[in-house]
């Protein structure tokens, strides 16, 4: 069963700064959904291959050809903060 510590851990992994209230509500909701999902335990999946793709396609590749890069200003146009040609982010402190 998912506990409060798991919820905090998952929020950190998912980079979500959740409030106390959100964490608590999330715990209850996730627990309910996970309980529903438990029904899959009843399925016998021995020897069953996993499906990652609904269509059986393989070996799709592109040739090594250069396409002109996109317009720089258009690519930077959505930047919340920039410095000249760079995207700018607040200082990086290791977790």
């Amino acid at each position: 069963m998912i506990d409060r510590k798991d919820v905090e851990h998952v929020a950190r992994l998912g980079r979500l700064a959740l409030t106390e209230r959100e964490l608590e509500r999330m715990r209850g909701e996730l627990a309910a959904i996970l309980e529903y999902i438990e029904k899959l335990r009843a399925v016998n999946v021995e020897g069953v291959e996993p499906t990652s793709h609904a269509v059986p396609v393989v070996n799709v590749m592109r040739e090594d050809e250069v396409e002109p890069p996109s317009d720089h200003e258009m690519m930077m146009g959505n930047a919340p903060d920039r410095s000249g040609e760079f995207f700018r982010v607040p200082r990086i402190i290791e977790d």
Binding site: I2, D6, V7, H9, V10, A11, L13, G14, R15, L16, A17, L18, T19, E22, M26, E29, L30, A32, I33, L34, Y36, I37, K39, L40, R41, V43, V45, V48, E49, P50, T51, S52, H53, A54, V55, V57, V60, R62, S70, D71, M74, M75, G77, N78, A79, P80, D81, F87, V89, P90, R91, I92, I93, D95
Partner: protein
Amino acid sequence: MAGDLTRLTVHGLTEAYRGGEETPTRVVEAYLARIARLDGDLGAYLTVTGDTALAEARAAEARYRRHAARGPLDGVPVALKDVLCTVGVRTTCGSRILETFVPPYDATVVTRLRAAGAVLLGKTNMDEFAMGSSTEHSAFKPTRNPWDLARVPGGSSGGSAAAVAADLAAVALGTDTGGSIRQPAAFCGLVGFKPTYGRVSRYGLVAFASSLDQIGPLAKDVRDCALLLGVIAGHDRRDATSLTAPVPDYASALGGGARGLRIGVPREYFNEGVDPDVERSVRAAITVLRDLGATTTEISLPNTDYGIAVYYILAPAEASSNLARYDGVKYGLRVPGRDLIEMSGRTRAAGFGAEVKRRIMLGTYALSAGYYDAYYGRAQKVRTLVRRDFETAFANVDLIVAPTTPNVAFKHGEKEDPLAMYLNDVFTVPGNLAGIPAVSLRCGFSRDGLPIGLQLIGRPLEEATVLRAAYAYEQATPWLDRRPELP
């Protein structure tokens, strides 16, 4: 007069253009006027691109004058779910985190629509990042069902469905990850088609669950649906999962009739959870199909009941990954913080709504160390079983017929519990898990006067068969005569 113009189907419009009775400019003006008048109540659109739409309409008009129309969509006003990237036009996905995002590129489907001469009216409302079944989870506003404003239009393509149902667009594109085209089509009484996975390029569709997402049409009738599908389908070198099989002429194959089709009726889709009005209408539709010369047999899709559980592991897991890029660095919202982790953590907490956060949490959990095999790995295996159910069934039948949803449109705020909302997708999710084509079309009305959806499911890449049966049914029934009462 304007009301009549917006009632025309795609094929009706282009006939009128070719005959010179109407012009794209007049039609687009009528649509823009109707949007201005009604959309305040309906909330179907997030962005209306009036000026460019008129410019595109004038260009289409010039082509008709020169007898150089580009095909069955030239001058046709189209609405796009706001999850499809449009160059220079903001694409929000119904989310605060992308409220200001202006894509530098067009989705492949948008490129194809433009090449076909379609007029882009605007971008429609949706559940945030396509996560939801009611369009109540849009960060900006809810969308209302044109048949009853107190009810939801379904979701997540609720804006596109409401727009077409209310004659605020001739036709629209939606996306379907677990039923997000078919369910709103059912709730709004439209034809909504989810093609085979890979039939339509996903390039430029902002990903929710990559292995399940497909783009498809929402239309007033089956012919319109076929015309739009024909324009957007086909291989795209930018999407490695797109299929290379040639695209048949769906519209010209519509007249083949239902005679000789073997139709399976899955036992599991007629359980006690299905609303009696829905069951009655779907059973009646099966009788109609039989009267049209199809044969019907009861079949079993034994793993149907596991669909939702599989889906609510796979889709959130993929979503947690797809949505990791929204971190306040490159585009969209940024909430300041003392350092990078604080900034991105706050940005995501403020930028995503409750349902999106819930799924990110669920998906992250399902993929995290120690849980992968129990959740994601197992779900992928059960997905194989669901797929095999269909393969087995399709060895003996050409089509499967079922209700699209267990219920008709519900009221705003009626489904507060996330799980109750999820269970609404029980009949649509298996089609996504198996990657097969499926359509929803109107097959009657509930006692409250709300449309009911009939679902036809086909073999991979057999869109034409699905459409043919749908068309035969549509032609044999009177349901399209009824329209929502709007001012």
